[in-house]
Symmetry: C2
Subunit: 398 residues, 2 copies
């Protein structure tokens, strides 16, 4: 557990000023961008004052916001989204002030599962409702099944293939969640339904949008309007496997894009090559990672892919602490090009996705990958790393 | 600890027969190969009988043997090498029968350090003598310095830059180790001076040898003589960074070569692309990994390389269990091509070498590597993985 929330703040406005000479204006909102005149409209929330401010170069880094679908009573007390540090603090304070008898999480993705696990950990029974027939829809169903088992073993009650239709309310506060199959009592609800890019400001300024309404950018992170750039969760990316536009709202991608945008604005021409769709999380002690295309994503791209699933150990089988790991790899039939990977397993499993990330980015074939001289010693891996065993099996199918 | 030594046997001769129809002849030695007549001379140790046996295809997988330099009294009782399971069992039995007051390990490589650590663990004080001024000569001196600190923190007494000149003996058993600087009492000595390829049989048969007297092979693992193949610790490899012959005696490489040789002998044409020089080990809880070229190796190849060393955390800084990790990366000046990496750090550090292995094999530049979409979540990594932070720093030097 993290002792104090201030440890979660990377840099305060004061540190920005002292260390980097960047002036941060907290509590100020940009309400409009006027590209023709090169200025932005600023609203100071404190006193409601508004004025125009000129810019030479403008970077849009407006981020993303959690999705709150327009369901009956969605704005009742006790229904939370978790996006900012303030959200987390508010949720924690509410639980501490009046611990709920039951909580319900809507959505079986990364955020939903993390919230469910942590609610269970503080002693609150949790139902998790997910519209899809599986958790983590970015995984193939068989791999998601392993995640479901991990979630259930923590005591999370899963309700898959079930859609939330609204909320019952008593005195303005949520008391139950209604679905297309029934009703679940809950005094606390966490919505983990994903995020959407904050692109309204850009749209209103006539800046072209792209994938999933994110702000369209070129590899140098220029928008379609001169002197305006975009980076982070609000901006579009390119998928390194398909070469096509995609949208990924993750901290590590945002951070890399921020660096590239800064370099370009400062005149150092630098391309952002794109994202592989990598993600990692854990449910209890089970580590989960994925990259590239899943079976469903490959099909949507019209790619013919083969896959192979392997179960092995994280260390030499005889070595203490060797845990079960399942690896699924995907490659294009015909070319043998690696296009994705998914991993579920015990300690030491998750980061094994990283050589797969490098391989799909470098457009390696399964045969190239199979021969990689990955690190082996009994405390770290079987003689053939599990990702290579998966590749060895996949070789016969491409 | 592994409970029973039988767990360390991957397959018994009986299992080979039943599962794969491979007939193993234990206790039989091949004393000569006669390519002209296509036959081998077999000696049955049990009764000393010898005969000729014909072959259609012959695979030499004779392995490597520990180096035992011709020092005075090197064959005294109490001086061990550790190569086979039988060696380990004998050493363990000797310790259990009569625990030595002091032990000395000669050599500061992987085997030497592993032995020193395990002797300390069973309560035996250990001196370690290494001729080079640093441990693990495959690491750069600064990284090896971190390893030395880890070894010392376990209680191993290091004597670096000191050469063993011989052994003192009482009643046929070692009593002290003599060096060019002094003398150390020890009733148990373990030699960890590396291995040499078992290529005498090949040499005698007129099969050409290559790097470090290993058996020369082409990418299909054919030797210079028709119908004779070689694979594993006795065989030469190609370095994927330099493209030149090299020799690496490690289980994972041997295993991959064995597969490729088998496929080729069976008529499935498959090239072995080579090795990156990857290795991993641990000293106490400190994980150590390396791949590609070190500063010294790059210089020997006439490559102008830059390097950058970064210290970071294995997880998000605020996340419980985040440990210190030091990453050193190497790239060619001018082209920016990644040529190597070294890592020393706490739990979760070592296998981070694997994306570096993939990158140097794919001939990525530092800029390519820097943008890899490696997996991030607070329990697994800082927002920028430490290997990417190292690349970010290296970028300014290539």
């Amino acid at each position: 557990m993290v002792d104090e929330t201030r440890h979660l703040i990377a840099r305060t406005p004061e540190e920005f000023k002292v260390r980097q000479n960047i002036i941060v204006y907290p509590g100020h909102e940009v309400t409009a961008v006027e590209p023709a005149s090169g200025r932005i409209r600023v609203l100071r929330r404190e006193d409601g004052e508004e004025w125009w401010e000129p810019y030479d170069q403008l970077l849009l880094a407006t981020g993303a916001s959690p999705i709150r679908p327009p369901l009956p009573n969605i704005d009742a007390h006790g229904i939370y989204t978790v996006n900012s540090l303030a959200d987390g603090i508010a949720l924690r304070a509410a639980i501490d002030a009046r611990p709920p008898h039951r909580a319900l999480v809507v959505g079986g993705g990364y955020i939903g599962l993390e919230m469910a696990e942590n609610l269970i950990r503080v002693g609150i029974p949790v139902d998790l409702v997910e519209q899809s027939p599986q958790l983590m829809t970015s995984l193939d169903p068989d791999m998601a099944g392993l995640v479901a088992r991990a979630a259930e073993s923590l005591g999370i009650s899963l309700h898959l293939g079930e859609a939330v239709t609204g909320f019952e309310v008593i005195h303005g506060a949520v008391s139950a969640v209604l679905t297309d199959r029934g009703s679940y009592p809950a005094e606390l609800v966490v919505l983990g339904l994903g995020v959407q890019p904050n692109s309204d400001l850009a749209r209103a300024a006539g800046i072209p949008l792209g994938a999933k309404e994110s702000i369209r950018v070129d590899p140098y992170l220029r928008t379609g309007i001169e002197n305006i750039w975009a980076a982070g969760d609000c901006a579009q990316s390119r998928h390194v496997v398909t070469g096509r536009p995609t949208w990924v709202a993750l901290g590590t991608v945002a951070n890399k894009m921020g660096r590239v945008a800064g370099l370009n604005i400062a005149g150092v021409r630098t391309a952002f090559p794109g994202v592989a769709g990598t993600a990692i999380t854990k449910v209890g002690t089970v580590e989960i990672a994925r990259t590239g295309l899943s079976t469903e994503e490959a099909a949507a791209e019209g790619l013919l892919v083969a896959s192979s699933t392997t179960t092995a150990k994280t260390r030499a089988g005889y070595y203490p602490g060797a845990e079960r790991i399942t690896v699924k790899l995907f490659a294009e039939v015909g070319t043998g090009r690696m296009v994705g990977g998914q991993i579920v397993g015990g300690q030491g499993s998750g980061k094994r996705i990283d050589p797969v990330v490098a391989a799909i980015t470098a457009r390696m074939t399964v045969d190239d990958f199979l021969h990689l001289d990955l690190a082996y010693a009994p405390p770290f891996s079987p003689t053939w790393d599990p990702v290579l065993v998966a590749a060895r099996q996949l070789l016969h199918q491409v």
